[in-house]
């Protein structure tokens, strides 16, 4: 597929792949030295604490924490609803984020920068601030309720804040940049010739998008979805601020055990379960997506 474009496009993916392959020219010793700082940092800052955490949940070599976790329907129930919320938020981010990423990749440079700024500036803003912004928008006398009432759509203020819906809306907003950016970077590397070739061969704009652009953008979709999903599973601040009593997530329960009850072994058990579930979902996600065509670059 990349044959003809190699001639036309000096910076085609093919060309890039050969530059990447030049890493093989480094000797083993140099490669080890280059990787060492990161490996050491990860070992100290990530592997060691996570291992300790998992170890803490098996304190005294017993499975007592896990027995309690399974015996009480509360914990698995909250785990299920956490996964559900994370899924909904990921899908919503994808549906809303893909068009933005597509637009950013297709627009002229100047305008693309403006769109990019609209994506980046919220990303640089504290999660706390963005979540509070939703409190302001959704509260009883907030902007949304006032607008709806003034437009005659609703009679009185609706209950918008402290609901599950508010949690999903606010989380989607907070996580959208993590969906847009990977998709954008994938779409940017797609040469426009593929699309032109498809159109030239008689495909409509929609058909060209479905059979060319979309499959080729899947690595970005995968990366963005995994990022959103994993981050959503561990969300703590946003549900606490805009959620109601029904929107209880795993992180809320872990927080309670860590800071209120100081039951760290049980908090560690809850964290370990959440970690395991996260890894399982990332694995399943990759399996599913790698079955579809055009995903050869996801290793």
């Amino acid at each position: 597929m990349s044959g003809p474009s190699e001639v036309l496009q000096p910076t085609s993916p093919h060309q890039r792949r050969s530059t990447a392959a030049s890493a093989r020219f480094y000797s083993r010793g140099v490669s080890v030295c280059l990787a060492a700082p990161l490996v050491v940092a990860l070992a100290i800052g990530f592997v060691y604490p996570v291992t300790r955490l998992v170890g803490l949940s098996f304190e005294g070599g017993s499975l007592e924490q896990y027995r309690r976790l399974v015996a009480e329907p509360l914990y698995l129930g909250v785990l299920a609803s956490t996964v559900k919320v994370a899924f909904i938020v990921t899908i919503a981010s994808l549906l809303l984020g893909f068009p933005v990423a597509y637009l950013m990749a297709r627009l002229r440079h100047g305008i693309a920068m403006v769109v990019a700024a609209c994506v980046f500036i919220p990303l640089w803003t504290s999660v706390l601030v963005r979540s509070y912004a939703w409190v302001v928008l959704l509260q009883r006398n907030g902007i949304v309720n006032t607008l709806l009432a003034d437009a005659g759509i609703t009679d009185g203020p609706m209950k918008l804040i402290y609901t599950q819906g508010a949690v999903i809306v606010a989380m989607t907003h907070v996580l959208m940049p993590f969906m847009i950016l990977p998709i954008y970077s994938t779409l940017r590397t797609l040469p426009p010739d593929y699309n032109r070739a498809a159109r030239n061969l008689g495909a409509g704009a929609f058909r060209a998008f479905i059979s060319i652009t979309l499959p080729l953008s899947l690595p970005g979709v995968f990366a963005g979805s995994v990022l959103c999903f994993v981050l959503a599973l561990g969300f703590y601040i946003t549900p606490a601020l805009v959620g109601g009593p029904g929107s209880m997530l795993m992180a809320t329960l872990i927080g309670q055990q860590t800071t209120v009850l100081l039951d760290w072994p049980f908090a560690a058990a809850l964290s370990t379960v959440l970690l395991t579930v996260t890894l399982i979902f990332v694995f399943l996600f990759r399996k599913t997506l790698s079955l579809s065509k055009g995903l050869h670059s996801v290793h």
Binding site: L74, G77, Q139, R140, T258, V260
Partner: protein, 356 residues
């Protein structure tokens, strides 16, 4: 460049001298006696600084360093410090109930010996100094309501459940410490104050089922309870007295009833293995020994100080809104800290199950 050390110009001398003086200055400031205390920050911190820390520094020369954290963060952090043996705080503030828990005892020093010096004091109650910490102040969680429609005002928890007489939406706390909501439900259901503890959790939750559809705010922070009242989200709520008073000061139409109230307080606890232990003890003793400091802080914070002498020093206006001795005697519920702590995990789990 090589000749640099030989040319000892005037400029060099000035630089060297100021560097030396900087060094000596920093070593002096390191040598200053200090004590590190963690508190919840904001207005609370400012009031304590003005009334307690600054006069203390003036009297003793010991610098008071404050660290800001939420109560939950403090508990977790102190536990981590003691566990790892890297204790950087000396004192921290914790709720009356938590200060009686075994988890608290594991990370703080038993103050029984320290408390002996206050045993003979007439102005201090018997619980002003306890093994878990010195009493900082007391306040209440109680029933507050919107005033101004001229109708009857709710007085008891049963009134809060009575949606026919008292219309409007309700607010309850939901900050991972559910005993006070359950206790209110039981009192509303006719349980007497004397038989309240141990709490009959299932009966409480059944009573709460009745009021649940009317609850519009389950507040997690004090600010949420204030914002909800300002917005008109609820007209009767179980909130903190300190917040209710703050709203009254703002001019909001709010009233409250001591007939539906729980006594809660804050304690000052000494971290096990504290580096500035002696200074920390001095700071705690300074609080209990100075009614002036207590009066000044509680005047701002609308709290009840541990010393009765301090109450006498406070303004008439503030004293008027404080619970009267007979209200405390006849109505205020003093929670059974021992029972709450022993059942904290179970209570929270059952609460979570009910709430979701």
């Amino acid at each position: 460049m090589i000749s640099f050390p030989l040319r000892w110009t005037r400029a060099h001398r000035v630089v060297a001298a100021s560097a030396l003086s900087l060094l000596s200055w920093s070593s002096v400031s390191l040598a200053t006696e200090q004590v590190v205390i963690a508190s919840t920050g904001g207005a609370y911190d400012r009031a304590l600084k003005a009334a307690w820390f600054d006069p203390f520094t003036k009297a003793t020369g010991i610098e008071v360093v404050t660290v800001v954290a939420t109560n939950a963060e403090m508990r977790a952090k102190v536990a981590a410090m003691v566990k790892t043996g890297n204790v950087t705080w000396d004192l921290y503030l914790d709720g009356e109930i938590q200060a009686a828990s075994t988890a608290h005892k594991a990370v703080t020093e038993d103050l029984t010996d320290f408390c002996k010096q206050f045993a003979g004091r007439k102005d201090l109650g018997p619980n002003a100094c306890a093994a878990g910490g010195a009493l900082l102040q007391s306040t209440a969680t109680l029933l507050a309501y919107r005033t101004g429609d001229g109708g009857p005002t709710p007085e008891t928890w049963a009134d809060m459940w009575d949606s026919k007489t008292f219309s409007g939406e309700r607010a309850f706390p939901n900050f991972d410490d559910p005993w006070r909501v359950m206790a209110a439900a039981l009192l509303a259901d006719g349980v007497s104050r004397e038989e309240l503890f141990p709490l009959d959790v299932e009966r409480a939750l059944k009573k709460l089922d009745e009021i649940r559809p009317a609850v519009s705010v389950w507040w997690k922070t004090g600010d949420q309870s204030v914002q909800g009242f300002r917005n008109g989200d609820y007209s009767i709520g179980q909130i903190w007295l300190t917040r209710a008073k703050a709203m009254q000061n703002e001019g909001l139409p709010i009233g409250w009833s001591y007939k539906a109230s729980f006594l809660v307080g804050d304690r000052i606890a000494l971290v096990k293995g504290a580096q500035n232990r002696d200074n920390a003890l001095k700071l705690m003793a300074f609080w209990l020994n100075s009614p002036e400091a207590q009066a000044m802080a509680c005047e701002v914070l609308s709290c009840t100080p541990p010393s009765t002498d301090a109450i006498a020093l406070m303004s008439e206006e503030v004293r008027k809104t404080m619970p009267h001795a007979n209200e405390v005697r006849d109505f205020m519920v003093v929670p059974d800290a021992e029972w709450i702590n022993a059942n904290a995990a179970q209570l929270l789990q059952r609460w979570n199950e009910w709430l979701r």
